[in-house]
C-alpha cells in the first residue's frame, strides 16, 4: 500500500507543482496570488495536520474522503507545494533569450511555455523533485494514522501483537530506507536519460 500511495501521489504531485510554478511565474496578479497562497499554506502546515484536516475536519463541512483518497489528496497538495518551489526556481533560471527567440518566431505564450521553457525547466528541477519524492516516501508513514494500511501501521500492529520493538521498527525503517534508495537511483536514471547532450560539458 505504501508503494501504491507513492506511485499515485507522485505524478499528480509533479503535475500540480508544474501548474503552481507556471502560475506563479507567468500568471497575472490574481492567479499568481492564489498559487502563492496555496504553496505557502501547504508548506507551512505539518503534513500530518493536512492529512487530519482532510480526513477528520472536512467531514464536518460535509466533505467525505476515504482514508486512501484523503492520503492521496493530502500528499499531492504537500509535495506539489514543495516541488513547485523547485519548478519556479528552475523556470526562472532558463535564460530570457530562449523566451525572446520563441516569441520572435511567432509562438504564443502558451506555446513558448509548453515547448521551450518547461522542457528545460523540468530537467533543471529534477534533482529537487527527486529530493521531495524521497521525503514523500518517508512521510507516507503518516498515512497510517488516517487508516491507510501502510508499512508503519502494519509495524505497529505487529508490535502490539508481539512486543519486539527493536526488530520490528528497525526492519520497517530499513524497508523505508530501501524504498527511498530505489527512488533515488530511479531518479538518477531519469536524469541521465533526459540530459541535454553537451550542456553539462559546457557548464
Amino acid at each position: 500500500m505504501t508503494v501504491e500511495l507513492i506511485v499515485v501521489s507522485v505524478p499528480i504531485g509533479v503535475a500540480l507543482a508544474i501548474l503552481l510554478g507556471v502560475a506563479r511565474v507567468y500568471g497575472n496578479k490574481p492567479i499568481s496570488l492564489v498559487a502563492t497562497t496555496v504553496v505557502g499554506t501547504f508548506r507551512g502546515l505539518p503534513a500530518i495536520v493536512t492529512l487530519f484536516i482532510i480526513f477528520f475536519a472536512l467531514p464536518d463541512l460535509g466533505i467525505y474522503f476515504s482514508s486512501y483518497w484523503s492520503a492521496v489528496i493530502g500528499f499531492v497538495l504537500v509535495t506539489g507545494a514543495y516541488q513547485s518551489e523547485y519548478v519556479r526556481g528552475s523556470i526562472q533560471s532558463v535564460e530570457s533569450g530562449q523566451s525572446l527567440a520563441a516569441q520572435s518566431l511567432g509562438m504564443s505564450r502558451s506555446q513558448e511555455i509548453l515547448h521551450i521553457i518547461l522542457p528545460q525547466a523540468i530537467r533543471a528541477a529534477l534533482p529537487g523533485i527527486s529530493n521531495e519524492v524521497i521525503y514523500l516516501v518517508l512521510y507516507s508513514s503518516l498515512a497510517s494514522y488516517i487508516g491507510v494500511q501502510e508499512m508503519f501501521g502494519v509495524a505497529r500492529t505487529f508490535n502490539s501483537l508481539e512486543f519486539r520493538p527493536i526488530e520490528i521498527f528497525l526492519t520497517a525503517g530499513l524497508l523505508y530506507a530501501a524504498l527511498a534508495t530505489v527512488c533515488f537511483v530511479g531518479f538518477r536514471m531519469i536524469e541521465r536519460r533526459l540530459r541535454i547532450p553537451g550542456l553539462e560539458i559546457a557548464k
Binding site: F56, L58, L138, S141, A155, A172, Y176
Partner: protein, 220 residues
C-alpha cells in the same frame, strides 16, 4: 464555537511544549551537526565513513519509525528510562544533527581552502583557525538553510503526538475527539503552525540580515 473557546487555552498551552521540542531538538542538532560537519571535512577516512553512515541512517528512516524505535525499543533496552518528551527531544535532535551537518558542511566548503590557509600562515593551529576564522563565517552563511531546518522542526514536532507528548497537535486531537467537532480545532491548529513556521522563519531571516557579512552575498 462557544464550546471551543473553552478549550482554546488548552491548545494554546501546547505552544510551550512545541517550542520546547523545537528548541531542544535544534540545540542538540546544532552541536551534533557542527561536530559532524567539521569531522566530515577535516577528519580522516574512518571518521567520514561513520558520519556518512549516521547521516544516511537518520535521513532515510521516517521520523515516526525513529520515534517508536527509540521510545519502545532502544531506550528501554539500554536501561535508561525516558519520558516521551525527553525521548522525542533526543530523537529530534539526533535527526536534526544529521541534516544540520550537511548545512554546515556546505557552508564551510563554500568558503574554500584559502581562508584556513591564511589562518595557518599566520601561525594559528588548525583548531584555532577553524574556531576563529571558519566557523564565524560558515555559521552566518548557514543561516538561510538553517531557517529551513527550523521550519521543518516546527512541523516535525507535531509527529510526537504519536508518543503522547502534550504539544499542539496532541491537544488538538483530544479536543476534537472530546467535542466531536473536529473542524474548528484542526483549522485552528493549522493556523497556529503556519504562524509559528513563518513567524520564526522571518525572525531567523532578520537575524541573517543583521549579521550578514557585508559584500559576502550567500555564496551557497
Amino acid at each position: 464555537m462557544a464550546v471551543f473557546a473553552d478549550f482554546l487555552p488548552y491548545i494554546l498551552s501546547g505552544i510551550v511544549w512545541t517550542l520546547g521540542l523545537v528548541a531542544g531538538g535544534l540545540s542538540i542538532g546544532f552541536v551534533i551537526g557542527l561536530f559532524m560537519a567539521i569531522g566530515q571535512i577535516y577528519g580522516g577516512e574512518e571518521i567520514q565513513a561513520v558520519i556518512h553512515g549516521y547521516v544516511w541512517f537518520f535521513r532515510s528512516i521516517p521520523l515516526l519509525v525513529l520515534l517508536f524505535l527509540f521510545y519502545f525499543g532502544l531506550f528501554p533496552a539500554s536501561g535508561y528510562k525516558l519520558d516521551p518528551l525527553a525521548c522525542s527531544i533526543v530523537v529530534l535532535g539526533l535527526r536534526s544533527g544529521a541534516y544540520q551537518s550537511q548545512i554546515f558542511r556546505g557552508a564551510i566548503i563554500s568558503l574554500g581552502d584559502t581562508q584556513l590557509q591564511a589562518a595557518r600562515a599566520l601561525g594559528m593551529s588548525r583548531l584555532r583557525g577553524i574556531f576563529h576564522i571558519i566557523l564565524p563565517q560558515a555559521l552566518r552563511i548557514s543561516l538561510p538553510g538553517w531557517s529551513n531546518e527550523y521550519a521543518t522542526m516546527i512541523k516535525d514536532s507535531s509527529l510526537t503526538f504519536a508518543l503522547g507528548v502534550l504539544e499542539i497537535l496532541t491537544r488538538t486531537r483530544y479536543v476534537a475527539m472530546a467535542t466531536h467537532e473536529p473542524l474548528v480545532p484542526y483549522f485552528f491548529a493549522g493556523g497556529l503552525f503556519i504562524v509559528l513556521t513563518y513567524g520564526g522563519t522571518k525572525i531567523v531571516n532578520i537575524l541573517y540580515e543583521r549579521t550578514k557579512i557585508p559584500g559576502l552575498v550567500g555564496k551557497l
